[in-house]
């Protein structure tokens, strides 16, 4: 082999080696790029899924807030109407005093309240019970409760409770739109059946009944 042939051989081998090195590098780069693209695609997929979950949560939050707002709106109207009913009820007390209510005169209504109050005072007693009835200035002045009525009530309560009850009208006056306070003479037990107190005491059932009646058919 001559020198020229040897040089050609060396160059050819070097060329071959050079191409092989470059080709391998290109292949490695291609594979590396492919892996990176695949990783980025996977990453993008996970990112989109996470963003979708966040989006759904945000949507649900908006919907929940709207439902809560709607419930509050409904509740506000219900409360307004209950308050309106209670206001109207208090205003009607005046006409109840003059016209009665559902066939019951106001003195009869007071009589019923006195009876209930006295029976609950008498319930815990075995001996005679002396009780006094306290009225508002207005009701006392109108003489809704007179001695004859107290006598009848006394008999009725004594018969019903089996306890000898004595009822009297107190000179003391209370501040109230109506109703009665019944107190044992010794002051130990008192039943407050003023209309305001009854309203407060019956608040829960009152509101339930009002709701039921107001929103029938809703």
């Amino acid at each position: 082999m001559g020198a020229k042939e040897m040089v050609e051989k060396i160059k050819s081998e070097a060329n071959e080696a050079s191409e092989k090195i470059k080709s391998e590098a290109r292949e490695n780069a291609k594979q590396e790029l492919g892996r990176s693209i695949k990783e980025l695609e996977e990453e993008k997929k996970r990112f989109v899924e996470a963003e979708e979950r966040k989006g759904v949560e945000e949507k649900e939050r908006i919907v929940r807030a709207a439902r809560q707002k709607a419930r509050k709106l409904r509740w506000t109207v219900e409360e307004e109407m209950i308050e309106k009913t209670l206001d109207a009820t208090l205003k009607r007390i005046t006409s109840v005093k003059s016209e009665g209510f559902k066939g019951n005169s106001y003195p009869n209504i007071l009589g019923g309240l006195i009876k209930d109050s006295t029976i609950s005072i008498a319930a815990g007693s075995s001996a005679d019970v002396e009780v006094e009835v306290i009225l508002s200035e207005e009701d006392a002045a109108a003489s809704y409760i007179d001695k004859a009525m107290l006598k009848n009530l006394t008999d009725e309560i004594s018969n019903d409770s089996g306890v000898n009850v004595r009822l009297s009208l107190s000179d003391e006056r209370m501040k109230s739109a109506g109703g009665v306070i019944v107190r044992r003479k010794d002051g130990e037990i008192e039943v407050n059946n003023t209309l305001e107190q009854r309203m407060a005491r019956l608040s829960t059932s009152l509101r339930e009944e009002i709701m039921k009646t107001l929103f029938t058919g809703t």
Binding site: A3, V7, S36, I62, V63, T85, A88, K102, T218
Partner: protein
């Protein structure tokens, strides 16, 4: 003559060595380009993520708002009916209330 031949061979060897050096330089270049391309793809992906996030968020917010409008429309209608029913039943409710307060039930 032999000296001349050796010189030619040595030059050939030198050319071969240069070729290999160039090839190595090319490899570094190829790898560097690949690295740059990966970096560019990653940056592009980060940019894409921002717009994807804002598109997805906007889509669900829009859906939520749409449902919100429907819910509030229904609520408004219901509330109007509630008010109308309550106004119509107000007198009865006052009577029920009086029955309880006055103890005439």
């Amino acid at each position: 003559m032999a000296v001349e031949a050796l010189k030619i061979i040595r030059e050939g060897e030198e050319d071969g060595r240069k070729l290999l050096e160039e090839a190595k330089a090319s490899v570094a270049n190829i790898l560097n380009e690949a690295e740059q391309e990966v970096k560019r793809l990653k940056e592009s992906a980060r940019e894409d993520e921002k717009s994807i996030a804002s598109e997805i968020s906007a889509k669900y917010i829009q859906e939520g708002k749409k449902e919100e409008v429907a819910i509030m429309e229904t609520a408004d209608t219901e509330v109007e009916k509630l008010k109308a029913d309550a106004e119509a039943n107000l007198e009865s409710a006052v009577n029920v209330s009086l029955e309880l307060i006055l103890g005439v039930r």
